[in-house]
């Protein structure tokens, strides 16, 4: 394998900031959650790449990615449950509808 590690890092960085851009611009709660998934994936890529290319004898990055996938699954489940509840109570899935939850 002869792909330089910079390429992977560039890819994950771009993916990360696309996610950030999405998170900051979108108003829909589900869309924001989707942007978070993008960010998470970019981080996962980094873990895997660092492990594979820089320290191939070990498995820390590998397992971190694996557990990260598990955690994000859990996070998504809870977040979606909350969004459904919000929708039920406010009849809106827009992020500004829950602004008064800051209090």
């Amino acid at each position: 394998m002869n792909i330089p590690v910079e390429y992977f890092i560039a890819l994950s960085t771009l993916l990360f900031f696309i996610g950030v851009f999405g998170f900051v611009t979108r108003r829909n709660l589900v869309a924001m959650l989707i942007s978070i998934e993008l960010i998470l994936n970019s981080v996962d890529i980094n873990f895997a790449v660092f492990n594979r290319i820089l320290f191939p004898a070990q498995f820390e990055g590998f397992f971190f990615t694996l557990f990260s996938i598990g955690v994000s699954a859990a996070e998504t489940a809870v977040a979606l449950a909350i969004i459904i509840n919000v929708y039920r109570n406010y009849h809106s899935d827009q992020v500004n509808s829950i602004e008064n939850m800051k209090f």
């Binding site: 950030v20 998170f23 900051v24 108003r27 924001m32 992020v95 800051k102």
Partner: protein, 660 residues
């Protein structure tokens, strides 16, 4: 070891204070009273036993022929430096043993007496506020007794100061005992502030003394190394010891109500009368005298001139107070001025001493202590009698009295005995002690001797004036017998202590006091007790007789024509005397106009504007900052994320700049 029970003398009253103070309200009134009285009774017994043991069983040291100074215990309480430690101890000397007896005797009598007095008061004033007065009163009395005992057995000046402040606090609490009364509250504040102001000088004196001498000890018998220290300090700094001693005396002058710091004592009569008898006549107010007497060897050796200043101040005070006492219509205030005058007598006696020698210059020490002893007894008697009258009459003012001899025979006799004793008539107590003082004054200078003889004549006059207006003259009750309450004798719990104190007042003069207390410690004879009357004695008897005769002529008739005429003839003098020669007003002017105007107002302005302003500004800016950043918490998750990311990026850039 002897005196191993001594710690109980301090511990018992403290325990009783704790018990009564914490659980007194839960007890029935008699129970609380009994606890206090039984404790005090055992203290009284212990003090008598201590005195017996000290003077008769152990007695004089064989080698020196003096009563030894016994330090029963002395433990370190605070350690300032290696050299300067603050100890709490228990020290017995002839005068501290004498004070033990004085304090416990009077206090015991007052405890018994208060059973009747406070109960009567409580019945009369069924106010909500006074509900728990009785138990509180006994708790305070216990605390006071503990503090006063701690003061007299102090092994060092700092311990004395600490207990000195404690008695001040007790005095404050007890003067303001009837706190729903405004005048009582004002009087207690006045007493506390005036004595605290004087105590400031005491503290400064202590600091001077301890800084240069390097110790708090003041007793050269108990601490022989002190002699060398004092000598070296006096050689190096000649100003130091006189000024330190005089500063300490200012503290004593505040407690002992010397002119011009006497203003608090007449007002202190707002407290219950037993308290006036115990604290403001017999014990606390003589603390200043006791302090000067304790430091007497140092005074005489290193500051004889300043000691004479004390004598002049005291002599003036005695005259002034006697003059004011002649015009008071409130009987307790009259007695208060008499107390001031008599305490001044004791200080005069100490002040005119110029050597530590029993016969040449040191007579005053013995005389002052003797007068302290006898005065405590008969002045307590007089105050308790006036308390009995006040309970019966329900007022302090002489116009409601008069003609009481028919209704209160026992009180009448006791009061008369007290008056004769204080006037200095042979063979009652006051004669002997006062005459020794006058003799000491004549030794010092003839002028001082004649002056004090004059004051003793005035004493006889104002005391008998008081006696006549209370017990003789026109009866207030008889003017309108149908509408007014008939006066009657007080119950036994009240007249019992009166009779006891009256008996003591009659015979106390015959105690060979010079054998126990004298300037050198050696035994000395009081000539008068062996009927060796000198010309001094005849003169003072004459002065007393003139005073009594004048008072009889003026006040015995029913309508008092002579005093009214005199008051009309000299209205300004009469008014001035009635207003205590405007000393209170002078202080009022000094504090309100000068102190408040020149110091307090600028300080208050500084506090309001600069200090408060600073804090207001800080509060305002915090609030403004809060208001400014409050909108940032919009609840909009996206802007949070944006800010968070901006911060991260900024931090990263800063780190990059620093690292590269």
């Amino acid at each position: 070891m002897e005196y191993s029970y001594a710690f109980l003398i301090l511990l018992l009253p403290f325990l009783s204070f704790l018990v009564l103070g914490l659980c007194g309200m839960k007890m029935k009134k008699p129970v609380a009273g009994f606890i206090g009285t039984i404790m005090l009774g055992s203290l009284f017994a212990m003090s008598l036993y201590t005195a017996y043991e000290y003077f008769f069983v152990i007695g004089r040291d064989a080698a020196t022929g003096l009563y030894p100074t016994v330090t029963v215990f002395n433990f370190t309480w605070l350690k300032f430096t290696e050299l300067l430690t603050f100890n709490i101890g228990f020290r017995l000397t002839p005068i501290s043993v004498m004070m033990l007896i004085v304090i416990t005797t009077v206090s015991f009598m007052v405890h018994i007496y208060s059973f009747g007095y406070m109960a009567e008061r409580d019945d009369k004033y069924k106010f909500e506020e006074y509900e728990h007065g009785f138990q509180r009163f006994y708790a305070y009395l216990s605390l006071f007794t503990m503090s006063m005992l701690g003061l007299v057995v102090a092994t060092n000046i700092f311990q004395m100061y600490m207990f000195w402040e404690l008695v001040g606090v007790c005095s404050y609490l007890l003067i303001g005992f009837y706190y729903p009364k405004h005048s009582a509250v004002h009087a207690s504040k006045k007493a506390f502030i005036v004595t605290r102001f004087a105590d400031l000088f005491f503290l400064i004196g202590i600091l001077f003394f301890s800084y240069y001498v390097g110790t708090f000890n003041y007793d050269m018998n108990a601490n022989p190394e002190l002699i060398g220290k004092l000598a070296s300090v006096a050689a190096k700094y000649s100003w130091l010891l006189p000024s330190a001693l005089f500063l300490m005396f200012i503290g004593g002058a505040g407690k002992s109500a010397m002119f011009p710091l006497h203003i608090w004592l007449p007002d202190a009569m707002e407290g219950p009368t037993p308290v006036s008898a115990l604290i403001h006549a017999a014990t606390m107010v003589v603390a200043g005298v006791y302090q000067v007497a304790s430091l007497f060897p140092i005074w005489v050796q290193y500051a004889p001139n300043q000691l004479h200043w004390v004598a002049y101040i005291a002599a003036f005070t005695s005259f002034y107070a006697a003059a004011v006492a002649c015009c008071q219509s409130d009987i307790k205030r009259g007695l208060a001025f008499s107390t001031i005058s008599q305490i001044a007598y004791m200080l005069v006696a100490l002040g005119v001493s110029y050597a530590v020698d029993n016969h040449e210059g040191g007579l005053g020490y013995m005389a002052g202590m003797f007068h302290l002893f006898t005065h405590a007894m008969f002045k307590a008697l007089l105050f308790l009698c006036s308390g009995a009258i006040i309970v019966i009459i329900g007022s302090n003012f002489k116009q409601y009295m008069g003609g009481l001899h028919k209704y209160m025979p026992i009180t009448n006799i006791c009061f008369l005995i007290g008056c004769i004793a204080i006037s200095g008539v042979w063979p009652l107590a006051g004669f002997f002690s006062k005459d020794e003082i006058v003799s000491a004054c004549f030794e010092f200078s003839p002028f001082m001797g004649w002056f004090m003889t004059l004051v003793s004549g005035m004493t006889a006059f104002y005391m008998f004036r008081l006696y006549y207006v209370i017990f003789w003259g026109q009866s207030y009750y008889e003017l309108d017998p149908e509408n007014r309450k008939k006066p009657g004798e007080v119950p036994f719990v009240m007249w019992g202590p009166l009779v006891f104190l009256a008996i003591v007042s009659i015979f106390a003069g015959w105690i060979p006091f010079g054998h126990f207390v004298s300037a050198t410690g050696q035994s000395m004879e009081i000539g008068l007790q062996h009927f060796e009357f000198t010309s001094v004695a005849w003169f003072s008897l004459l002065a007393a007789a003139i005073g009594i005769g004048l008072a009889t002529w003026m006040y015995l008739p029913k309508n008092n024509p002579v005093p009214d005429m005199l008051a009309k003839k000299m209205p300004r003098l009469h008014k001035a005397a009635l207003n205590r020669f405007y000393i209170d007003d002078a202080w009022q002017f000094f504090t309100h106009k000068i102190v408040f105007g020149c110091f307090s107002k600028p300080i208050a302005w500084f506090d309001r504007h600069v200090i408060d302003g600073t804090f207001n500004f800080m509060a305002w800016s915090a609030q403004e900052a809060g208001e400014t950043i409050r909108p940032w918490q919009s609840g909009d998750v996206r802007s949070y994320a944006a800010w968070f990311l901006t911060g991260t990026v900024a931090l990263t850039l800063i780190l990059l700049c620093i690292l590269s």
